[in-house]
Symmetry: C2
Subunit: 649 residues, 2 copies
């Protein structure tokens, strides 16, 4: 056969015909929504300065000051407003935890200059099973990050515009879908997108906290005017357990701090140095602002509420009214929360593509879509996050208990991996090993570094436990059950791929004996154009053709037999009476009997005439026999199904 | 080819091989639910005495006294309780209407002794379009009958057991599904099933009404103790429009009176005489009980309410307490309402099968299921009725406005058909015409009969109009819009079948020229067991085989090309680079180019290797390329698709 076109000469390469498809992607609703397909080409790589890097990788972490203080207070509120006094001491402990995590991750940045995501670090140092646990934890994190950040962003919006409160779930889902579409188009994590909103947020927050302290010290800072009512219905006693629960909620301030360690590669050289320095800045800003906000909230007597966020209460108290500065603060907070959601959209599809490449998730997740992004990952993230938002009514307080278990579990595993890294390093005393990730040198200070990462790991493990236990009843149980399920399904998927690869391998493939005989069966319900076309085709395959008619009505069958004498081209017609008026079972019975006596070197093909109506809904007017036949017969070994379509004009 | 089994000799008949499928229907959840399949055999036909016939065909009509009085009062309640005084005069008008309809239908029974359903009568006398309008009206009626009767039955249950009120929607849907399952099993409309409950209901109702009048005349009948609160929120003035609305609601008492005329065939001989007499009895009972109940309701000051039916209020007032007689009345009322639902389950599937036979509804509706009933019709009825019950919250008051338009429209058309029947009859003055339905004799009294049916038709037409106008805003608009839509879709379906029959007809069929060349294309993504099996098959079809690889990754393609040298059996491999990483578009582009240069006597077959994984969920782990390919290519003329399945062990 000639190549079907000859106007451009196909390239002959090793005896194969090579050509490039010339089709132009069609305009369609897809194109309008997510843009025209992009040809495969490496995305341009941009390196970031420290200031821009802080914006790109810090938005997630910094945005957590929008919800972490509120979620700490929400728990304390159950023990009455006098318990709010414990918020500041709890924040101090959280800030210490932040310092430990930051110092630990400094070492990850230096050890993995090409990007030290938890999955990579754990896989390299603790092996695949532990890495899959970290991977599962990270995937749930990303999902919850998207759900929480959007919900918190919308909570800021409805604080400023209380009339929107009843629509918060649909506003949240709408925003989520918007962000998903933007990511399907392929949002570049360019500095410009991130720098302006992040620094605007930092400026507004520093201004609010600064002005708050100035007014506090000058004695002009009053209480919140007209605070929302406290929603806790049944007061609890102030127990250690309650304080630990409040602490657990506050630790959500740490979510996102590890982001910089994933993105070291994007920094300007010396990249490890710059990334490490940026992380220190970011953590310092985060810690100071977090402490400042919690302190001021105590001073003004802010009340945690679903209808007005504490950030809104702080801003309108500090700035004296709902004026321009207030609105600016709320806009900045909403914007950074939505940017934080984007971190989830960057992280989830990439991580699932990596896990899919390793064969633990469906392969499709590793295929890039028409815009070069992992579209299926983006779609999955959107669907699950939207589901959570709807189920939990866009309530940050309801979503938080599901979140931080995964975050701290991945911190723990990542730091444990680093500790193991240093432990292994001691063996390198005299040699230099070149590995794929980096050139490994013996580090004489490995004992210190082991100690630091060990401390980080143990601390975060303790926080994981505290979180899992204190928030268990509130929803953490979902994650405690979900994580093992996800890990088990990773292994189930992997088993299938491994098994399939063995099964398909050509290593022990023996050529089958040449086929001697080709039997063809064709079901016939009536004689018309379609049947005759299929019969022609069947006769072109083999002379051994049998037409099979399943008879449900003696009169119709009689007519068919008479017609067959004239039109049947001499092909044998077998009539099977179906006493229960079903088509499938008698036909299958016949096929099965035939299969049982089939020789190994005989082929059996079933030729099915199939109507293709002009309008799709016309399909509802026909019994879809061919569909069911295919469905059932595809599972039978050694049968080939051929559909001869007959297009109704 | 030999018949696959030789242990029982197939019957040779006109040179065809005939056999009976011997498979035994399998045990499955279906079997457990609806019983083992029944072989095709005529259902035994039972003839009914007048007393049993009254029970079988009267249950539907008689059950309407359970809701018609209540629905009349509900409208009057809007004008305040003093308006209840109009209920009795309205009932008198309705009783007159009942008499007119009964007399009209007497003539239908005598003229159509083999069953005079509206569809049949209208089709024969007014033509197919009018019959389709009647058919559409009847189908919506049956659906609403099922929804209303079940909802009313459950309203009786929750009147007796008020704790069940919040669950009424689910109880209704549950009962509906139970009745559907019973009908899927194939309920025989045997006298036994119907006689006992119907006569029990009649006995209890006569007892309640009788005892009520005895106590009323003896002055011991008090008012309802602790009646439910009146639910009407905004009081309306007492206008003629309001009275007409109340009248419209009351006319639901007439629903079902035509049933006997459909079932004349089932009566003992002289069947027309017996059926006509039964109908008179039934209408008399219905009229008397309806009037009696409405009168007594006025005396005891019953209040229409969703939480307690007026029947319940009447029974507990007449019998003095919620004792055994009260419970008996409620059980009887519930039971007959559920029997009335069964009328819908008998009527809807049969009527849709008749319309489907005529080619105006999907053919599948005319196929009998494994239990010899029209399973698809039963399933459709159940689904739509359940949808209505859920949407309208199982409220009879909300459902009623949708109902009676269709009922009276079919009355009107049926009576108009009868009038036309007598008008045509005048031409028979001297001859006797034998038609399929009956031997037609000239009837010298045709003028009188024409007048009676004409009066029936005009009266019911007026009621239809009153109903459509007064209940338009309450929901009748749904039906006013739905009926034309249904009729239009009848014609659309018919057009498709007619068109298809012409297209498939062999009348002008010319034998196509014999095929000379058979080209085969096979998409190849990787080389493994499955590919090689498909390649073997492709080579058995033709020597002109081209393998097509869509390249998305240069490295993989390079590997494939090398492997192809060893395993490709000398088949040409065309490599098409896909710049946008899609499979479908480049492959289709290639197929289209090939199709464009295909000669009329050339065939093109596409052989698609297809994975069949062992577990269904494994399908999620593979891109379903074959599925999409089939989906797109089936619409292309002249291409045959062959799937060579490869079952993963």
């Amino acid at each position: 056969m000639e190549p079907p076109s000859d106007d451009d000469e196909p390239e002959h390469n090793n005896g194969f015909l090579n050509r490039v498809a010339r089709y132009n992607p069609q305009h369609a609703w897809r194109t309008w929504l997510i843009g025209r397909p992009l040809p495969t080409a490496a995305a341009p790589h941009q390196t970031l300065s420290k200031a821009v890097g802080l914006a790109v990788f810090g938005a997630d972490a910094l945005s957590s000051i929008a919800y972490a203080p509120q979620e700490t207070l929400v728990i304390l509120a159950a023990a009455g407003t006098q318990a709010f006094g414990y918020a500041f001491p709890i924040s101090l402990v959280i800030t210490v935890l932040l310092a430990i995590v930051t110092i630990s991750y400094q070492q990850t940045i230096h050890a993995y200059p090409s990007g030290g995501g938890a999955y990579t670090v754990v896989k390299e140092n603790l092996g695949e099973p532990a890495a899959l646990v970290a991977g599962a934890a990270l995937l749930t994190d990303y999902i919850l990050l998207a759900a929480v950040a959007i919900s918190s962003g919308v909570a800021q919006i409805v604080s400023a515009f209380p009339d929107l409160f009843p629509y918060r779930v649909w506003i949240s889902v709408g925003l989520l879908v918007l962000i998903a579409v933007a990511n399907l188009r392929g949002v570049k994590e360019s500095g410009n997108t991130f720098a302006a909103p992040t620094y605007f947020f930092l400026a507004m927050t520093v201004l609010a906290v600064g002005a708050g302290f100035v007014r506090y010290l000058s004695g002009t800072l009053g209480m919140v005017i007209d605070p929302p009512p406290i929603e806790t219905l049944h007061a609890e006693p102030l127990t250690l357990f309650l304080l630990l629960r409040a602490f657990s909620n506050g630790t959500t301030a740490l979510t996102g701090v590890e982001c910089i360690s994933n993105g070291v590669k994007s920094f300007k050289e010396p990249r490890a140095h710059n990334a490490a320095l940026t992380m220190v800045w970011m953590s310092t800003l985060l810690g100071v602002l977090f402490l400042g906000i919690v302190y001021l909230l105590g001073v003004i007597g802010a009340v945690p509420s679903e209808s007005e966020t504490v950030i809104s209460q702080l801003a309108r108290t500090v700035f004296g009214n709902r004026g321009l500065l207030y609105l600016g603060t709320m806009i900045a907070t909403t914007t950074i929360l939505i940017l934080a959601t984007n971190t989830a959209f960057a992280g989830f599809p990439t991580l699932s593509a990596i896990i899919a490449e390793d064969g633990y998730m469906p392969r499709q997740l590793a295929y890039r879509g028409s815009r070069l992004v992992f579209s299926r990952g983006i779609a999955s993230l959107t669907a699950i996050a939207a589901f959570l938002i709807v189920i939990f009514n866009a309530s940050v307080t309801a979503l938080i208990p599901l979140w931080a278990v995964g975050v701290f579990l991945s911190f723990t595993l990542s730091q444990a991996g680093m500790a193991r890294h240093w432990w292994n390093n001691r063996l390198l005393a005299d040699k230099t090993i070149v590995e794929k990730e980096a050139t490994r040198l013996y580090d004489p200070g490995w004992r210190w570094k082991l100690a630091i990462n060990g401390l980080g790991s143990v601390t975060t493990a303790i926080v994981t436990l505290i979180f899992a236990i204190t928030k268990f009843a509130d929803g953490a149980w979902i994650i405690v059950l979900l994580l093992p399920t996800v890990v088990i399904s990773f292994f189930a998927v992997h088993r299938h791929y491994v098994y399939l690869a063995q099964d398909l391998s050509l290593e022990h493939y023996g050529q089958p004996p040449p086929a001697k005989r080709h039997r063809v069966i064709m079901p016939v319900s009536a004689i018309h154009h379609g049947t005759l076309e299929a019969l022609d085709y069947a006769l072109s395959l083999s002379l051994d053709v049998t037409a099979v008619h399943i008879s449900m009505d003696a009169v119709q069958t009689e007519k068919l037999q008479q017609k067959w004498n004239g039109w049947g081209k001499g092909v044998r017609l077998v009539v099977i009476e179906s006493p229960y008026r079903t088509f499938l079972e008698p036909f299958l019975e016949y096929v099965n009997e035939l299969c049982a006596i089939l020789q190994p070197n005989e082929r059996l093909t079933i030729v099915v005439p199939q109507f293709i109506p002009k309008l799709w809904w016309h399909n509802l007017l026909h019994t879809q026999t061919a569909f069911w036949l295919r469905f059932v017969l595809l599972n039978k070994k050694g049968i080939v199904i051929t559909e001869v379509p007959y297009q109704v004009r």
